[in-house]
């Protein structure tokens, strides 16, 4: 093994291990980042409560099992429905619809407020302590090419990527998905062609809520469920969306994975205490070098 003075002893196995677990958390960031881009494309909404949208569903599940005595699978199902209703339908109807005609800024402020409300409510009415969240997968590790890779990481990665693949299939391979794309690209014409534009936008919000639920139940077993989780998650997802290119699902996916991996490697090899600076540094580099994002295209049109 090469002995790099500032990295300590470098082991390929450890590197691979860190890389895979980075991909796993990165794929969860990607789910949240994709939600950002979907809402942006469909209705020019930047949801600054996105982090809290990922924090909340885990507490819906916990409330179901702890207060209502529901079994875990039932609580999960109810939490999914609740997430879609509250964070999708409710969010759209109560906050976005009335504010959208007034431009982007009121929505930004309203979603920041919504984030604070969600965070403080959980702290006040539930608990300020981090809550353990049942692991969805066994905590065994598999030996792959000499590296110990946890089953959980692989399962998280597969589920998150599977969800993204399904979403892509839905958007490209169904009539309704194509109508959603048309709505995002040119709502006026879509409307004239008879596409039910408002419903398509609503679907986007429902999908975002479902993605947030999925991200929540995947990440909470790793980081525990805590009222303040949304702060980091929201920021990282936002950065991932920008890094990848705000107007592209593929970009958000790439951005999420990249941040997950870079973050994990930097924490191990450079400094754990500066780890939260890593996404920000990445953001600054991308904005300087490639402001449209890794895969994004510059908005605006050349004529």
């Amino acid at each position: 093994m090469p002995d790099l003075p500032f990295l300590g002893t470098f082991s390929m196995n450890t590197f691979f291990q860190l890389f895979v677990s980075g991909l796993a958390t990165g794929s969860i960031y990607a789910l949240a980042a994709i939600g950002f881009t979907l809402l942006w494309q469909a209705s020019q909404t930047i949801n600054f409560a996105q982090g809290e949208f990922i924090m909340l569903p885990a507490f819906f599940v916990l409330a179901g099992t702890q207060f209502l005595g529901l079994s875990f699978p039932v609580a999960m199902a109810i939490a999914l429905v609740l997430s879609v209703l509250l964070l999708g339908l409710g969010f759209k109807r109560v906050i976005i619809d009335p504010l959208l005609p007034h431009g982007v800024l009121p929505i930004v402020i309203a979603t920041i407020a919504l984030g604070i409300l969600a965070k403080e409510s959980v702290k006040q009415f539930y608990t300020a302590e981090a809550q353990p969240f049942p692991a969805l997968f066994s905590d065994r590790t598999l030996n792959i090419l000499g590296a110990a890779i946890s089953v959980q990481d692989i399962a998280v990665l597969l589920i998150a990527l599977g969800a993204v693949a399904l979403l892509q299939l839905f958007l490209n391979g169904t009539k309704i998905g194509r109508c959603m794309q048309a709505t995002a690209q040119n709502p006026q014409v879509a409307e004239i062609l008879g596409v039910p534009v408002r419903r398509m936008i609503l679907f986007t919000f429902l999908i975002n809520a479902a993605l947030a639920f999925l991200a929540s139940v995947l990440i909470s077993p790793i980081y525990l469920a805590k009222f303040s989780n949304g702060e980091t998650l929201g920021l990282i997802a936002f950065i991932a969306a920008i890094v990848g290119g705000f107007n592209q699902i593929r970009g958000a996916l790439a951005g999420g994975l990249l941040i997950g991996v870079v973050d994990n490697l930097a924490a191990a090899y450079i400094s754990a205490s500066y780890r939260s600076a890593v996404p920000l540094i990445l953001l600054i580099i991308i904005i300087l070098v490639r402001p449209q994002g890794l895969l994004g295209k510059a908005e605006g049109r050349t004529v």
């Binding site: 009539k175 194509r178 109508c179 048309a182 690209q185 040119n186 409307e191 062609l193 039910p196 049109r301």
Partner: protein, 247 residues
């Protein structure tokens, strides 16, 4: 037989300004009607009243004998009124083929049929024919946003025709299109008109284009019809010359 489009005593006021003042005309099957007039003559307002984008202050608009008052643009689309846009209006991130399919499909059905029905709604063949007709064949699978301006105009027209409309309203089709492409566009529109008996109403500033494309021309000035007839008659009408030059 009913006229395809019948505009009867339509007026539209904005506050004290009468942008369209008691205008009546009919458009018959297989006609290409040009609607011209100096800037501010009320062409676009009239166009928007017909298309349901502005409610008329008075008068009626009949499509195929049916009153379309209060219909939304998408209802008019279903009734067989297609349109193209002055500013380019395509779905830039979709392929040429997908743009045309989207324009042709009927947006109804159950959630299940929307999820599991063929995403192309069985329209691929017809869409490919339309693409060939408008000579965009070599760009079938390219993103619409990557096409040149003139080609996007052709695509816009192809989209308007895809749903098999009774009437197509063309809003400044020649605007910003280079001369070669313009000849192409004109030739294709005329071919469509002759081969399929399609009916058009064209708003246009480019006189040469209108005169050589249309079978009949209506001239608007200050919201009123000041002249009507075949291109030659209109071209030589002193009131028209005065409206354009005398201002």
């Amino acid at each position: 037989m009913n006229p395809v489009l019948s505009v009867r005593n339509v007026s539209k006021s904005f506050g004290g300004l009468r942008a369209v003042d008691d205008v009546s005309f009919d458009v018959h099957q297989a006609e290409i009607l040009g609607l011209i007039g100096p800037n501010g003559s009320g062409k676009s307002t009239l166009f928007n009243c017909v298309l349901g984008q502005l409610p008329a202050s008075a008068g009626t608009v009949l499509v195929d004998g049916k009153d379309v008052a209060g219909k939304r643009p998408c209802d008019l689309n279903k009734l067989g009124v297609g349109r193209t846009f002055q500013m380019l209006q395509v779905f830039p991130e979709m392929t040429v083929l997908d743009n045309i399919i989207l324009a042709g499909q009927e947006h109804k059905g159950t959630m299940l049929s929307r999820l599991f029905g063929k995403p192309d709604a069985g329209l691929t063949e017809e869409a490919l024919r339309m693409i060939d007709f408008f000579r965009l064949g070599h760009q079938t699978h390219e993103k619409a946003g990557s096409l040149s301006y003139g080609q996007q105009k052709l695509l816009d027209a192809a989209m308007a025709f895809m749903a098999g409309p009774k009437l197509v309203m063309l809003d400044e089709p020649a605007g910003g299109v280079n001369l070669t492409m313009l000849a192409d566009l004109k030739e294709r529109l005329r071919a469509f008109n002759q081969e399929r008996g399609a009916t058009f109403v064209v708003i246009e500033h480019n006189m040469e284009f209108v005169m050589s494309l249309c079978t009949r021309i209506i001239v608007l000035a200050n919201g009123r019809i000041i002249a009507e007839g075949d291109p030659e008659t209109v071209r030589n009408d002193p009131t028209v010359i005065e409206a354009y030059l005398g201002g």
